[in-house]
Each structure stands twice: as structure tokens, then as C-alpha cells.
């Protein structure tokens, strides 16, 4: 029932850029959307449905494509909602959620460096956990754990 409500409200705002809301245990559902409607989906979810607390952003490398995940929480509904978009592996980019949820800033920096998903219009997209100048994206499936990589780490600018 909860996911029906979410689907109706978001669908009315973004039309066919909403791909569907699947049931997900003990959450308001898993909302799939087309990446070109990202900002409108975020804004609708925050302002019309009250999911004002962004908990995390993450990425999954499915080899054929990449999936970007957002987990948001609403205090009034006491529920989580999972947002998910599929991005092509050769051009994995999506609009940054940081204008809507400032909390996204660090999570997107992490997702960019680990899963190689580009966040457009991010205020400060630079390395967070890995050294500056590190060219690999460790959480891609093509990054093998048992093969040593040769790398030259540049000094961080101070």
C-alpha cells in the first residue's frame, strides 16, 4: 500500500521517467527511475513525500551496467525508501543529489572513486578514501584482488 502511494505521487510528477516501485521488505519500496529524471525524482521524494534524510549513496557494478542506490528516510512516515537507477557501464553518470540533500556530498565522492560513477554538478568531486591521483576504481568487478597493481601515488597538495 505504501509503495502504491509512492508510485502515484512520483509518477504524477515525473511521468515515464519513473520505471516502477518494487516491494522491498520493511521499507516503503524500491523505486526505479531513469537517470535523466534524477533531480525531479529526488525533489519529489523529498518535498512531496517527506523523505528529508539521505542515509547513503552506493553503487553496484553489474558488469553489463552499473546501478546507483540511494537510501532515504522519512521521520514522519518512519520508513526507508530505496531509490535505484541503472546507468550504462561506458557512460555511468547521473546528476548529483547534493543540491537536494547536502548529505550526499561525501557519499557521492566515495561512490565516484570506488565504483566509477560520475556525479554531474557535484560541488567538490575529489578523492576521499583513496590517495589523490589514484586511477583505479577498486569496487569494479574488473579490479581483481589477487593481482598486484602498479601505481604511482602523487603527493596530496597541501
Amino acid at each position: 500500500m505504501q509503495s502504491d502511494d509512492v508510485a502515484r505521487t512520483v509518477g504524477a510528477q515525473v511521468g515515464d521517467r519513473l520505471l516502477g516501485v518494487d516491494p522491498f521488505p520493511r521499507t516503503a519500496g524500491r523505486l526505479r527511475f531513469r537517470p535523466d529524471g534524477a533531480l525531479e525524482v529526488f525533489r519529489t521524494v523529498k518535498e512531496r513525500l517527506g523523505f528529508d534524510h539521505l542515509s547513503m549513496v552506493g553503487g553496484i557494478d553489474w558488469v553489463t551496467h552499473r546501478e546507483v542506490l540511494y537510501v532515504v528516510w522519512s521521520d514522519s512516515r518512519r520508513q526507508y525508501l530505496i531509490l535505484s537507477a541503472d546507468l550504462p557501464a561506458d557512460a555511468a553518470r547521473i546528476e548529483s543529489a547534493s543540491p537536494i540533500w547536502p548529505a550526499a556530498e561525501w557519499h557521492e565522492r566515495e561512490t565516484w572513486e570506488l565504483v566509477d560513477i560520475q556525479f554531474d554538478h557535484h560541488p567538490d568531486l575529489r578523492h576521499l578514501l583513496l590517495p589523490d591521483g589514484y586511477e583505479f576504481h577498486p569496487l569494479l568487478r574488473s579490479f581483481k584482488l589477487h593481482e598486484p597493481e602498479e601505481l604511482e601515488v602523487k603527493q596530496r597538495s597541501v
Binding site: P25, S55, M56, Q79, L130
Partner: protein, 378 residues
């Protein structure tokens, strides 16, 4: 002028670097620099069996190992469609709450030392050791327990444990009164903490801050109450909140949380005394590496045809709200494991609670955030 506080600095409590821009004594900008402790735990998890990841979870946050084990196990069980027996859920709740006391005592010891009070540090560490002794008596370890398993926990409690645990709780309840007298009664403490590091409720929500920092701003939010896991739905407790959103308010919230943990633990210990039973689900697939699983041909079939699934869990960790997302693609390894660390989000809001204060205010403010670098960097 930019100055580096860290990676080796008495304030940091772990390897990280707080770069602050100062104008005289006033902080005008800051930029936490993380990654010194990045071990790639999410990547290593993809190469391990489900139960082997538990070993990594202890090391993700080394002062709250049980909370992270619990977090991962909840998501993994959802992804693998396995349910634990009820006694195991109560045992996990007990682990979580003792861990909360242990972690908050560690925070108390480190925080008051940052402010300049030495004896509370010794008292905090002394009392934390009693909790670690209890952990040692049923897991064999004081920090890295490897106790929880997919489908339950590794072993039951030794005889006489609940009696010993109650004695520790009685001792701790009396000590909390002394702690308050030592800190809240001290002018030095109040002058260094009152009105510092204020982060309003609206800023907390915008920047994703959770846990004691959010509750100190008056927001009554706790995963244990809002989305109960394990056996919290059957237990009685209050969510600790405070007004003021400053360093003192965070102190008050953590102290009240420890009292509530004692209250929860008394109920859990009573339940455990009355309800003996199995602590690990039977008929677990053998490839999970479960010690008591029946050996048989059907396990091989099960592994080949194991249903896929996705698990999402959230846990009220001592530092705030932790989340895990586990993807099971029908093999013995998780396909992807993603964690949300509460300290990661609390630290990302540093600009909001540091700018405008003085350099000498940094140790009490950052101390009140309760930073564990292991879980930020993962």
C-alpha cells in the same frame, strides 16, 4: 592560514587529518581528510564466504564490533532467506547493549581526557574492562569476537553468566552517578562544553547526522524504536534526547543511553534465564560453514539452486545509524556489500559545527562527535 591537526594528533583518536583554516583564533573553514585507514573491507567481503565477513566486521569498528557484526548478519540473513532462533536474537540484543555501554565508556574516557580531566579517564577505562571481561567469558575475545553467525550465534552462554552480568550492571549503575558528579559538577567541564559545537536539528537532518548528535538536538529518532530489529520490539526502553544540541547535550544523551542500556539488559538477562533453547538455526546450508549443520548431499543441490536475494538492514550503533546492503547472486560469496557508517556522515557535517569556534574548542567538539576512524574509512 591552513593548519593540519593530524594524522598524528592527540585530538584525532585514530588516523585522520582535520585541516582547519584559521583567522587568528577563529576557525573559518575546515576539511577533514580521511582514508588513512582504508582497508577495502567492502571489496575483501566480495571474496569471502558469508560467515567469514563477520571477521572483518569486528575490525570495521574496533570499539563496537558487536554492533557491526549484527548489522551485517541482519542484511546477510535477509539476502539468504534464513531466520535465526529467538534465543539467538535475544543474545544478539544483549551483545549490542553491552557493546553500547563499552563504546560509550570508551568515548567517556577519551572525551574527558581531551578536556583535561585525567581521573575520569581512568574510571571509564576501569569500568569498560568489566564489560570486556563479560565478552571474554562467552566469546573468548575482548575486541574481535567473531560471535554472530548467519542463522544465529556461535555458542550459548557459560553457566553463571547472567548472575555475573547482573553484578556488573549493578556496579555500573552506581558509577554513572559518580560520572555525572565528576563532570557536570565541574566548572572546568561546563566552561569547556556549554554552548560549543551547536548543530541544530534542521542542519542535522540536512547533513545526514544521526545517533546521539541528532538526539542531542531534540529529535527523537532511534532505529531500535522506529524500525525494531532482533528483540527490541518486545523490550521496554526510552529514547534518550536532550535540548541544546551542544557538547554538554551530547554528553547527557550518551549518559542516559547507558542507563537505558542497563534497563534493557536487565530485561534481556531475565528472558535468557527463563528460555533455554537452540542458538543456531538447524538445516543451514553446509557451505555457510556453520559448525552444526548436517552434512548431506542436499547441501550441494542447495548451493547450486540457492535463491538470489537482496538484504537491507539498519542498526542503532553506539555512534548512530549504521546500514548494510548485501546482494546475494546465488553463490557462496556476497556479490556486493555496502555499508553506511554513521561517523562518516557525522564527520562530513564538520563545517557546520566547527566554523566560528576557536582552535582550543576543537578537542571538546570533535570529542563529542565520538569518532571511530575504522568505520569511516572501512
Amino acid at each position: 592560514m591552513w593548519i593540519n591537526m593530524g594524522p598524528q594528533h592527540p585530538m584525532t583518536h585514530g588516523l585522520w587529518n582535520l585541516r582547519v583554516k584559521i583567522d587568528g583564533e577563529i576557525i573559518t573553514d575546515c576539511d577533514p581528510e580521511m582514508g588513512y585507514l582504508h582497508r577495502g573491507i567492502e571489496k575483501i567481503s566480495e571474496d569471502r564466504h558469508y560467515n567469514e565477513v563477520v571477521t572483518l566486521m569486528d575490525r570495521t569498528c574496533y570499539v563496537a564490533g558487536f554492533a557491526w557484526e549484527h548489522l551485517y548478519i541482519l542484511a546477510a540473513e535477509e539476502a539468504l532467506h534464513i531466520a535465526p532462533p529467538e534465543r539467538a536474537e535475544y543474545l544478539r540484543t544483549m551483545c549490542d547493549e553491552f557493546q553500547r555501554i563499552g563504546s560509550h565508556l570508551m568515548w567517556y574516557a577519551a572525551f574527558v581526557q581531551d578536556i583535561g580531566l585525567m581521573s575520569p579517564f581512568l574510571y571509564g577505562m576501569r569500568d569498560r574492562d568489566l564489560v570486556l571481561d563479560l565478552f571474554q567469558s562467552y566469546t573468548g575475545a575482548r575486541m574481535t569476537y567473531e560471535y554472530m553467525r548467519v542463522g544465529g550465534v556461535r555458542n550459548d552462554l557459560p553457566p553463571g553468566f547472567t548472575g555475573r552480568a547482573r553484578k556488573v550492571l549493578d556496579w555500573l549503575s552506581d558509577r554513572f552517578v559518580e560520572y555525572d558528579r565528576l563532570c557536570l559538577g565541574s566548572d572546568i567541564f561546563r566552561k569547556r562544553c556549554d554552548g560549543l559545537g551547536v548543530l541544530s536539528a534542521a542542519d542535522c537532518i540536512a547533513t545526514g547526522v544521526t545517533g546521539p548528535m541528532l538526539r542531542s538536538a531534540g529529535v527523537k529518532r532511534d532505529v531500535r524504536r522506529d524500525r525494531p530489529y532482533a528483540s527490541y520490539a518486545q523490550l521496554d526502553f526510552d529514547v534518550a534526547v536532550a535540548d541544546g544540541a551542544d557538547v554538554t547535550a551530547r554528553y547527557l544523551v550518551r549518559m542516559e543511553e547507558m542507563r537505558q542500556s542497563v534497563r534493557l539488559l536487565r530485561q534481556v538477562l531475565d528472558w535468557l534465564d527463563r528460555h533455554p533453547g537452540p542458538v543456531l538455526a538447524d538445516r543451514l546450508p553446509r557451505w555457510l560453514g556453520a559448525p552444526y549443520a548436517p552434512v548431506g548431499k542436499e547441501d550441494y543441490v542447495l548451493k547450486r539452486n540457492y535463491p538470489k536475494g537482496v538484504g537491507f538492514s539498519s542498526v542503532e550503533e553506539p555512534h548512530g545509524e549504521a546500514q548494510a546492503y548485501v546482494v546475494n547472486e546465488g553463490s557462496e560469496h556476497p556479490y556486493r556489500v555496502k555499508f553506511r557508517s554513521p561517523v562518516f556522515a557525522n564527520l562530513s557535517a564538520a563545517r557546520h559545527y566547527l566554523i566560528g569556534y576557536r582552535v582550543a574548542d576543537i578537542p571538546p567538539i570533535m570529542g563529542s562527535v565520538d569518532i571511530c576512524v575504522g568505520e569511516v574509512d572501512r
